[in-house]
């Protein structure tokens, strides 16, 4: 019983991590159908920048505070100057451009930071733990990651549903031309969306860098789970993305317990099952 509970709790915490990876992607996908294949690399990039800032400022939290405006500005400019040119009927263009960006990021990181793995010193938080019962404890950092994923999900969903900016996001997503007629500049709206997505990426990168080590070429391995969480959850729904992440995390963990080689596979099976039964995801919000 306890071991089942342990599996479930660890799975939910793992799901929090996947949701955190996926939220930024979910926003870009929901607002402008942008398939950002460099998403994982942007997470790694922000982890490295956070690492550098943490070395300079001496605190990972100060580093995150400094990183957030940088990430927003970086995201805004990236969308405005590069990615806006790739958005259109043909999804190929954005795929190719972001794929190219991924290679550029990996090599630039390797040039600057060498091939050494780096980890952000969280001042002991990564090994802090709460014991819930004899032989059953959970870590403070996974709990924090989970809480961050939860808070960001609720925040993004409220932003999307309740604010003028959110309405603008939904409008350009549903019908760009009509939104333009109403006076919205889609290039600016898209850039704002990417800026906000990069705020989430900054959180994901910093926390991921505390949890494990990062090196220049780690990005692509983070992309897949982020993608799956978004697809399972349904486009434009952040609650969906969170649920998708949880589902992925829990099924992977159940699989891991049966056999460590099965976890990833059971996750993929659930993903395929969701795709088969509900091609538009569990809670689709935009078309």
């Amino acid at each position: 019983m306890l071991s089942f509970l342990d599996t479930l709790v660890q799975g939910v915490l793992l799901g929090g991590l996947y949701a955190l990876f996926a939220l930024g992607q979910s926003l870009l996908f929901g607002v402008m159908r942008l398939t950002n294949t460099a998403h994982g690399d942007f997470i790694i990039l922000s982890a490295f920048v956070a690492w550098s800032l943490a070395v300079v400022t001496g605190s990972p939290w100060l580093a995150l505070i400094v990183l957030l405006p940088l990430a927003f500005a970086g995201g805004y400019l990236l969308q405005r100057l590069v990615l806006n040119g790739t958005i259109g009927k043909d999804p190929m263009r954005s795929l190719v451009v972001t794929f190219g960006l991924a290679i550029v990021i990996q090599n630039v990181l390797q040039q600057i930071y060498t091939a050494d793995p780096r980890s952000i010193d969280s001042g002991g938080l990564n090994t802090a733990t709460f014991q819930l019962a004899e032989g059953f404890s959970i870590g403070a950092l996974p709990l924090l990651i989970f809480a961050a994923a939860l808070a960001l999900t609720v925040g993004l969903q409220l932003l999307f549903d309740r604010t003028d900016l959110g309405r603008a996001f939904r409008a350009v997503s549903d019908d760009r031309e009509a939104a333009e007629l109403m006076g919205l500049d889609h290039r600016h709206v898209y850039a704002l969306a990417t800026g906000i997505a990069f705020l989430v990426v900054a959180f994901a990168g910093t926390l991921h860098g505390m949890k494990t080590t990062v090196s220049a070429t780690d990005g692509p391995s983070l992309l897949l789970y982020a993608f799956e969480a978004v697809i399972i959850g349904g486009m434009g729904s952040f609650y969906g993305t969170l649920v998708g992440g949880m589902l992925l995390g829990v099924t992977q963990d159940i699989g891991f317990r049966i056999d460590p080689g099965w976890g990833i596979w059971t996750g993929h099976v659930v993903f395929l099952g969701a795709l088969l039964l509900r091609p538009s995801g569990l809670f689709p919000r935009t078309r």
């Binding site: 071991s3 342990d6 599996t7 660890q10 799975g11 793992l14 991590l17 996947y18 090599n107 390797q110 060498t114 091939a115 050494d116 793995p117 780096r118 980890s119 010193d121 002991g124 990564n126 090994t127 802090a128 733990t129 014991q131 032989g135 404890s137 959970i138 870590g139 403070a140 950092l141 996974p142 949890k211 494990t212 080590t213 990062v214 090196s215 070429t217 780690d218 391995s221 789970y225 995390g249 992977q252 963990d253 891991f256 317990r257 056999d259 460590p260 080689g261 976890g263 990833i264």
Partner: protein, 410 residues
């Protein structure tokens, strides 16, 4: 430095009249290693070694040698591609290759196919030999390898574990890749020798690299295993060790292959890095000398540290030794431009290098494999660097001095 350069220049001028007999085209050596990508830490010191060699070769008037360096980009396909380029386009006389089966195997295969002599290293010999479908009866014609094998890792790990008091239960982390499958193999891997020495191995099964969650393994090891071993990549080592702490599992000994080789990886582990143990193929305290420069292992490591400003790593010695064997073979070959004669000279190598003696057809399991010594090391807080690798067990290679005893992780 200036005097040295002046000397070389003077030698070059004095050597001018002799150009008549050096008119044959220079010997071309191709060198393949991972410079970029996930395996790049292995190739980090190569540039330093090649610069060192170019200086030496510039002063060598007997044979003119040119080194062509290629990057495998950590990809087996790319490694095979650059090997074919070197052989077919650059017409190299000899190929050197280093670092992991993903690099060495495709390059060696290309050399075998095109009948070009090749010397390789920094791959345990099993994945190098069996990974290329080597036939123990026949061996290979053109490719020669020096490094240690799985049996040495197991022997060293066991010797270390036997020197401390534990419950002799060992948790195994073997991923689903070339190394993990070889280490966990029921016949050739860890299970049999561990059982023979009275250790119990708990192996939950193969997992994918870049794993985000080790709860299943931790649940299997917790309250059972005092020792954790395996062959994992650095991010997985960090994820496992952090999660183990979070979930209240504190093994007394953690001995891992691959993840703990490089000081950068240990520093990234932070406090968790202290007390971890790993295999040591080469260190400054190895009592060997370079046949090319006369430097001791320590002097070679120190010259790297002062040139790069970075802590020494184990591949330095092996990259240097590759060139030692190459130059020695070139000098012994009657006509180094003739591939067969050069190959025969390589096969007849009996050289004492900075990583130990290299001799084919004798000490190794097959005619193409020469084994170098292996010992066990533990990372401890250092004086010069944040963490330093201290040799704690030398049962298989008593000539290499130990500097301490294996300590339990507090």
């Amino acid at each position: 430095m200036t005097t040295r350069r002046a000397l070389i220049k003077a030698a070059a001028i004095l050597g001018l009249p002799r150009f008549a007999f050096a008119q044959k085209r220079p010997i071309r050596i191709g060198f393949v290693s991972p410079q970029t990508g996930a395996l790049a830490p292995f190739g980090e010191a190569d540039r330093f070694i090649i610069e060192q060699m170019n200086k030496l070769f510039a002063a060598d008037k007997k044979t003119e040698i040119k080194v062509l360096q290629k990057d495998s980009q950590s990809s087996p396909n790319r490694a095979g591609e650059v090997a074919n380029d070197l052989i077919l386009k650059e017409k190299v006389d000899l190929v050197l290759v280093s670092s992991t089966p993903e690099t060495a195997n495709p390059v060696c295969d290309a050399c075998e196919l095109n009948e070009v002599p090749c010397i390789s290293t920094v791959v345990p010999w099993q994945p190098w030999f069996f990974g290329r479908n080597g036939d123990p009866g026949k061996g290979f014609e053109w490719t020669y390898h020096f490094f240690w094998g799985l049996e040495d890792v197991i022997g060293n790990f066991l010797a270390g574990w036997k020197s401390v008091t534990t419950n002799k239960k060992v948790g195994g982390l073997f991923p689903n890749d070339g190394d993990g499958n070889a280490w966990g193999d029921k016949e050739r891997g860890f299970p049999k020798p561990l059982q023979a020495e009275g250790f119990t191995l708990i192996d939950p099964g193969r997992f994918q690299n870049m794993n985000n969650d080790f709860s299943a393994q931790i649940a299997a090891f917790k309250q059972v295993a005092d020792i954790v071993t395996g062959v994992v990549i650095p991010p997985d080592a960090k994820t496992f060790l952090t999660q183990a702490r979070q979930q209240g599992y504190r093994p007394k000994v953690v001995t891992l292959g691959k993840a703990l080789l490089f000081p950068g990886a240990i520093e990234a582990l932070g406090e968790l890095g202290e007390g971890l143990s790993t295999e040591v193929w080469w260190s400054p305290s190895h009592p060997f000398k370079s046949s090319l420069t006369g430097q001791s292992a320590r002097q070679l490591a120190e010259s790297y540290e002062s040139a790069s400003g970075r802590q020494w790593t184990q591949p330095i010695g092996f990259a240097h030794a590759l060139f030692e064997v190459a130059v020695d073979s070139l000098h012994r070959a009657r006509d180094p431009h003739d591939k067969k004669q050069l190959r025969d000279a390589v096969a007849a190598t009996n050289l004492s290098t900075v990583v130990g003696p290299v001799k084919w057809g004798g000490g190794g399991p097959f005619k193409n494999v020469s084994k170098t010594p292996l010992v066990l090391g533990q990372w401890v807080k250092g004086k010069k660097h944040r963490y330093e690798l201290v040799i704690v067990s030398n049962h298989a290679a008593p000539e290499i001095p130990v500097a301490g005893k294996l300590k339990l992780i507090s």
